[in-house]
């Protein structure tokens, strides 16, 4: 591709922030190690140099304090971007997130706006054990008042960040460590794609068809999309045509795109790196089934993280994670069944 400009998600995020910060003086960034270090996951690199210490602020390890502060600043006309370094840390500050950030617009009948972005890293696969490897998509998406997005590639990462920064509502921006493009975490090559230099938005709440297909729909988000795409390639050789839906946003959830795809294929597999029960996978299956089950050619399936804390040992963690093989196996089983199960 001519003029190709492949970026990592980390760089795409930083670029979107920098572009908005140039345009809008109310945008500023706060979090642990986001200034001098540029973020543990690289997504604020370069911002300190360009925008200085006032607008790019390292914080104490006081998530309740500084996320609460972001809410207050947002209500006062600023557009803060705060980083919760690992999503796993939400337990120390969730009141500020779900009871203040997410609800103050409603509590004020819309008189206060809370335009802020909370960016946070998700995901495992590199043996960081049970307090540093979770996705917790469902934990955030379940509670009203906040939008929740997660990109699978750098193009979406930039566009979603720009849209989040311009949104008058709080947006949880979840970036998967395994897609971040930080070598030390390994990285999914498919996440590094061409990113236009100029600013653009990806509409929050619109899923993407990452791959067209006709036999089975695989719905996922972030890392799961890459697993699904890999599975789809393998399935192609079997003569099974898989459509891959990249949700990109959990709130709002693009139920129409999911239903339309399953309406076409008649089969649904949800791939979710978050815990199995009471989360994303159940919601997607319910979304499809509650509008009709007669078109389904097989019962829907989910490949999710089992309901166990995330183990450290590589063999154990890899056993639990969704992967292309598991998806391929499920799709083969489902497509072998000719009549509804």
């Amino acid at each position: 591709m001519e003029n190709e400009r492949k970026l990592t998600i980390a760089r795409a995020m930083a670029e979107a922030m920098a572009q908005e910060m140039r345009l809008d003086p109310t945008v500023f960034v706060m979090g642990e190690d986001i200034a001098e270090l540029g973020g543990v996951f690289g997504n604020t690199r370069g911002l300190l140099d360009e925008f200085g210490k006032e607008r790019v602020r390292d914080t104490p390890i006081s998530e309740t304090g500084f996320i609460g502060a972001a809410v207050g600043a947002a209500q006062d006309g600023m557009r803060p971007v705060v980083e919760l370094m690992f999503v796993d840390f939400f337990g120390v500050c969730f009141d500020a997130i779900y009871n203040l950030m997410a609800k103050n617009t409603y509590f004020s009948g819309g008189n206060f706006k809370v335009p802020m972005v909370l960016m946070t890293s998700t995901g495992g696969g590199y043996s960081d054990a049970g307090q540093h490897s979770q996705c917790l998509y469902g934990s955030f998406a379940h509670l009203p008042g906040m939008k929740v997005v997660s990109p699978s590639n750098a193009y979406d990462a930039k566009g979603l960040m720009t849209a989040a920064l311009r949104d008058d509502n709080p947006v949880i921006y979840m970036f998967h460590k395994g897609l971040q493009g930080m070598g030390w975490l390994g990285t999914e090559a498919g996440a590094n794609v061409h990113v236009p230099e100029e600013s653009y938005e990806i509409e929050i709440g619109k899923a993407a068809i990452a791959r067209q297909g006709s036999d089975v729909t695989i719905v996922s988000i972030a890392m799961g999309v890459h697993n699904a795409l890999k599975a789809a390639s393998v399935l192609e050789a079997d003569g099974i045509s898989a459509e891959v839906v990249d949700l990109r946003s959990l709130v709002p959830l693009d139920r129409e795109t999911v239903r339309a795809s399953v309406g076409k294929t008649g089969r649904l597999i949800v791939v979710d790196e978050d815990y199995h029960s009471y989360g994303v996978s159940g919601e997607i299956i319910a979304t499809v089934c509650e509008t009709g089950v007669s078109g389904l050619k097989a019962p829907p399936r989910r490949i999710a993280y089992p309901d166990v804390p995330i183990p450290f040992a590589r063999v154990m963690e890899q056993h639990c994670l969704p992967n292309p093989d598991k998806i391929v196996a499920a799709a083969r089983e489902m497509c072998r069944v000719a009549v509804p199960a």
Binding site: A73, N99, F107, S108, G110, N111, N169
Partner: protein, 328 residues
């Protein structure tokens, strides 16, 4: 720093408004709730935390605040809202859950939000602190004037948010004041059963900032100490922690049997009711005469009556409006 006559008049009148407002609310709250007391019933359902007796804190602090200044309040916010200048009619309507309320009935008494005077609440203990610090930070970043005051109870000073926010505010020298209303109780738990120090102002040492304790619920003293702290904050010298001894004349919330109070405590508190005490001192010092004060009281009462009437007469929200205003 001493309050001017005009300020004293405002303070007294505002205390009376607050008290009369609560008296009215208290009465209406009980409508439909007897013979069986069920919180869900009556024109004002839900929890009701009155602030009778705590008015000096609100007026002594807010006497120094302008509409642009920020206040975050708690589950017990009426006196603070009134002193900060929240629209009394819309506030009453909100407490009644009416469409004309501050937020169209979505928030209720624990969630009073008025963007016009930068007033916000949280019903979760100490969680107004972060937003206050953030408001203060916003002013600093924007180079706009304004301080932020976070009111909390003495029980809230044992919550993590207190510590994190005080450290942040001190570290960043934010124009913020934390005002602790020490009413001696957190629901049924006495301060001494919850707090490892006698007075919370000593905790200022943890942040290298000034800390003050004011005893006796004294409006003059509160005015003075708060004024100095706010001046300091406006001058860019950073936050202050102020703890104020005040009196919770009512139960924790309406319906509280208060069996945990020691014998005689309530009588003792009523004897020290700050409103008659302030009236007396204003007369003793000849700041105002009885006629002045009577007039203030009757003006206060009319304002309250109007607000209550407005609330009563306002329409209920449309049920399906519950689904709106989730997002901006």
């Amino acid at each position: 720093m001493q309050p001017t006559k005009a300020e004293l008049g405002w303070m007294y009148r505002t205390m009376v408004i607050s008290r009369r407002f609560e008296n009215a609310i208290e009465k209406i709250y009980m409508e439909g709730k007897s013979p069986v007391f069920n919180m869900a019933d009556g024109p004002i359902p839900g929890e009701m935390h009155l602030s009778d007796g705590q008015e000096p804190v609100a007026v002594g602090v807010c006497a120094h605040l302008k509409p642009e200044d920020i206040v975050t309040a708690t589950h017990r916010p009426h006196h603070q809202a009134i002193a900060k200048g929240v629209d009394l009619k819309k506030m009453a309507a909100e407490i009644f859950g009416k469409a004309s309320g501050l937020s169209g009935g979505r928030g209720g008494h624990m969630h009073l939000f008025d963007a016009d005077v930068n007033f916000a609440c949280s019903g979760i203990i100490a969680q107004g602190m972060g937003p206050a610090a953030g408001g203060a930070l916003s002013r600093k970043l924007q180079g706009k004037p304004g301080v932020a005051v976070s009111f909390i109870g003495e029980g809230a000073a044992n919550q993590g948010a207190f510590h994190e926010t005080m450290n942040l505010a001190a570290l960043w020298k934010l124009p913020m004041i934390c005002v602790i209303e020490d009413n001696a109780w957190g629901i049924s738990v006495a301060k001494s059963a919850a707090t490892s120090v006698q007075k919370n102002h000593v905790r200022a040492a943890s942040y290298g900032i000034p800390g003050h304790y004011i005893s006796d619920n004294d409006p003059w003293k509160i005015y003075e100490v708060a004024g100095e702290a706010i001046e300091r904050a406006r001058a860019g010298e950073g936050p202050t922690l102020i703890e104020i001894e005040t009196y919770r004349l009512a139960g924790h919330f309406m319906g509280d049997a208060e069996g945990y109070r020691p014998e005689g405590e309530k009588d003792d508190l009523f004897a020290r009711d700050p409103i008659p005490a302030m009236r007396q001192r204003l007369l003793d010092e000849a700041t105002f005469n009885a006629a002045d004060l009577d007039q203030m009281e009757s003006e206060a009462q009319s304002g309250v009556d109007e607000a209550i009437q407005f609330a009563r007469e306002s329409a209920d929200p449309a049920p399906e409006d519950a689904l709106t205003a989730v997002f901006a």
